[in-house]
Point group: C2
Chain length 372, copies 2
C-alpha cells in the first residue's frame, strides 16, 4: 500500500506500477522474439538498475542508452553490451575509450571527421554503427546520400580500432503519426530506405546489420523483414503522447505523479494540485486541438484508476502547481488534501525529474541521476 | 576564464554572467525604490544563496519563494521574512508551523476551509495574504467575487493564529502580452481590480496591503499607484520568453547553457549540440510563428556574444541533443567539438535542471535542489 494512502501526501511523488511495467516489457519481448528481431531496449526512459533487472529476467542481454554517463551507470550494474545511441561527442573520446575497455560499448558516427578522431583516440577496438537519417531530420547521414554512407563505411572498415556493425536509425517522426496505419507506413518507408543502403554496401563488399528504434513502431508494426535489431524505450512506461500514436491505451501507462490537492474552484470545475513543471517537466501533448500536460487518474487501494480524459485533464502547468479541469461528477468526489494521480504527457521527461520511484507496493527504486 | 574555453567542454553546463545578474537586479531595485514600492523578489528563478547575497547587498530584506522546501533553504541562509507564494498545501500544515516559529513566513490562502485548517494547526501567529485571481485563471478568489474575499478576510481577522496582511495576486497573463503597451494595460487592469477590493474591505473596516507580481510588469510599468509590494522573479536572468513580452533584450539574458558541438550538416545549415530537454527543460517560446527552444550565442573570452536570432535558432530539442538552424556565415565559423551557448526559452526551468552554476569568471555557485 502506498504511504500516501494511509497518510496525507506532502509533496508530488513519482509513482510506478511495476505490474504494468512487467506487462509492457513482456509484450515487446514476446513480439520481437516471434519475429526473430534482436531486442536491445533503450533504457533512457526508466534509467533505473532495478527495472533493468526485470529485462534481464526476460532474457535481455544488451541495451541502449542516451549518454555516456548513463552507459557507465548501467555498466556498473552488470550490463556489458551497451549502445550509446547519440553520435559520438568529440569532447568525450577519452571517456569512451575508458568505458570501451571494460564493456562492449557500441557507438554511432555520422561523419568521416569524427570516425577518424575516434579511431585515433581509442586503445581498444570499438563496435561502431553508422547513424542514418531516414526522414526524422535530426542527426545522421541522409538515407539518399549513398556516397557518403559508402565512404564512411569504407573508412570504418579500414580503421584498426573500429569494428563496423551496420546501419542504425531512429524514426522519431513516428511520434507525429496518429494511429497504426500511419506508424506502419512510416516505419516501412524507413525500413526500405535502410535495406537499400544495406544492399548498396553489400554490392561494395561490406556487410551491415540494420538497427531501428522507436516505441510506436515496436508497438504497432508486425513486419520487420530485414531488420536485425529494435531499440524502443518509452514502451516500458508509455504516456499520453503514445496514446495518441495508438501505441498504447491509458491503462498501459505505468508511471503517474501523485499530487496533493491544494484548491477546489467550483465555478470553473477546476482543481489545483501541488505539482507543476518542476515535477512533470513542461512537455505537453496535443489532444483534439488542446495542449495538455497530463490526464487525471483517481487513487485506488493499490494504485490509480483511469477515468475518461474528458473527466479530468491538466490544462495548465506552472512551476509548482497545475490546473485540472474536471467534470462535475469528478469534482464532487475530490477533497482538499487528497492525493490525485497525473498520467504524464511524456514519461521520459517526467521521470527524469526524480531521483527515485515509489512503486505502488511500497518499494523505493533508485534512478541514475544526470547531475550529482 | 571559463574552464571550457581553455579545454574541450565534455557536457552541457549552466553558465551565469554575474555582471548581467547585478545589472538586472539593480535596475528593478532602483525603479521600485523610485516609486516607493516595497520589493520582495521571487527567488524561484535563481534558487541560489550566493545570488541572494547580491540582493542583500542592494538592501533587499524580504523575499518570495514557490515551495516550503525553498523557504527552508533560504531561511537557513539568513532570510527571515519570506512569502510562500503558492496557496497553502493542507498536507504541509505542520511543516509550515515549524518554519513559522523561526522566521516571518507569509502564506497565501484562497478558501475558508484552508484558512480554518491553518489556524487550527498553528502554534504561532502567521502572516497571511488572500490570494486573488485578477484574470490569470490559475489560483485565487476571482476579483469580482467580493463576497468571498470579504468573508475570508473576516475569518482571518478573527482567527487568533492568523495575521491578515492584505491581497496578493500574480498577473501571470502578462506573459502572453507582446510589448510594453499590452503589459501596462494588463497590469493596470489588475491593479484597479485589486484597489477596488481593497476599498471594499476598508468600507468593512478591514485594512489591506496590495502585493503584485511578475517580471513583465516590474520591467515595463511606470505607474504603481496603490501597489504596496512587487514580487517579480524571472528578471534576475530574463530569457527568450521575456524578449517577446518586451521586458528585456537578448543582451540582458544572464544565463546560457554551454554545449559542445557534436555534428555539422552543411546541406541543411544545421548544427547539432550535446544538450537537450534534460539540460534546458522542454519549454519553448513562439517567435514569429516558430516554436523555438533557444537562441544561439557564440563564445567570447569572457562569456558569450549575441548574434541575430535568424543566424542561430534551436528548432528542435530531443532528450539529449538539439538541432540549431544557422546562417551560412555562422555555419562556417563553427567547428566540431567547440562550445556554443544557448539562451534558454525559459530560464527558471533551464536552471532548475542543474545543481550549480558556473559563472563566466570561473566561480561555482550551488543551488537549492528540489530532490536530494
Amino acid at each position: 500500500m502506498l504511504d500516501h494512502q494511509t497518510s496525507i501526501l506532502k509533496k508530488p511523488q513519482l509513482t510506478l506500477d511495476i505490474g504494468k511495467v512487467r506487462r509492457n516489457i513482456s509484450r515487446i519481448v514476446d513480439k520481437l522474439q516471434r519475429h526473430g528481431v534482436f531486442f536491445r531496449p533503450h533504457f533512457k526512459t526508466h534509467q533505473c538498475a532495478a527495472i533493468g533487472e526485470l529485462f534481464k529476467d526476460m532474457g535481455i542481454t544488451a541495451i541502449t542508452v542516451s549518454s555516456l554517463d548513463m552507459a557507465a551507470y548501467f555498466a556498473k550494474h552488470g550490463w556489458d553490451d551497451i549502445t550509446l545511441a547519440v553520435p559520438v561527442n568529440p569532447g568525450q573520446l577519452q571517456d569512451i575509450d575508458l568505458l570501451a575497455r571494460r564493456i562492449r560499448l557500441n557507438v554511432l558516427v555520422d561523419s568521416l571527421e569524427v570516425a577518424t578522431m575516434l579511431n585515433n583516440a581509442l586503445n581498444v577496438k570499438c563496435p561502431l554503427w553508422i547513424k542514418v537519417d531516414v526522414g526524422y531530420g535530426r542527426v545522421g547521414i541522409k538515407w539518399h546520400d549513398e556516397q557518403n554512407v559508402l565512404e564512411l563505411a569504407k573508412l570504418v572498415e579500414s580503421s584498426p580500432q573500429l569494428e563496423f556493425c551496420g546501419l542504425l536509425t531512429h524514426s522519431g517522426h513516428t511520434y507525429e503519426c496518429r494511429g497504426k496505419e500511419q506508424v506502419i507506413h512510416r516505419f516501412d518507408e524507413g525500413r526500405r530506405r535502410m535495406l537499400k543502403l544495406k544492399q548498396m554496401l553489400l554490392a561494395n563488399g561490406i556487410r551491415a546489420r540494420i538497427s531501428m528504434g522507436d516505441t510506436p513502431s515496436a508497438s504497432l508494426v508486425e513486419a520487420f523483414e530485414g531488420v536485425d535489431e529494435m531499440r524502443p524505450g518509452n514502451f516500458v512506461f508509455y504516456d499520453l503522447t503514445q496514446t495518441q500514436t495508438g501505441s498504447c491505451s491509458e491503462t498501459d501507462i505505468a508511471v503517474a505523479i501523485a499530487c496533493p490537492v491544494i484548491g477546489k474552484y467550483e465555478d470553473d470545475l477546476k482543481v489545483v494540485v501541488y505539482g507543476g513543471s518542476v515535477h512533470f517537466s513542461k512537455d505537453s501533448v496535443n489532444i483534439n486541438g488542446e495542449r495538455l500536460f497530463g490526464q487525471l487518474a483517481l487513487p485506488t487501494t493499490d494504485g490509480w484508476k483511469i477515468i475518461p480524459l474528458s473527466d479530468g485533464k491538466v490544462v495548465s502547468c506552472c512551476q509548482e502547481v497545475s490546473k485540472i479541469k474536471v467534470s462535475r461528477e469528478v469534482f464532487e468526489q475530490i477533497e482538499l488534501a487528497q492525493t490525485l494521480y497525473i498520467l504524464p504527457a511524456h514519461s521520459c521527461l517526467a521521470a527524469e525529474v526524480y531521483p527515485r520511484y515509489l512503486t505502488t507496493n511500497g518499494e523505493v527504486l533508485e534512478r541514475f541521476r544526470l547531475f550529482e
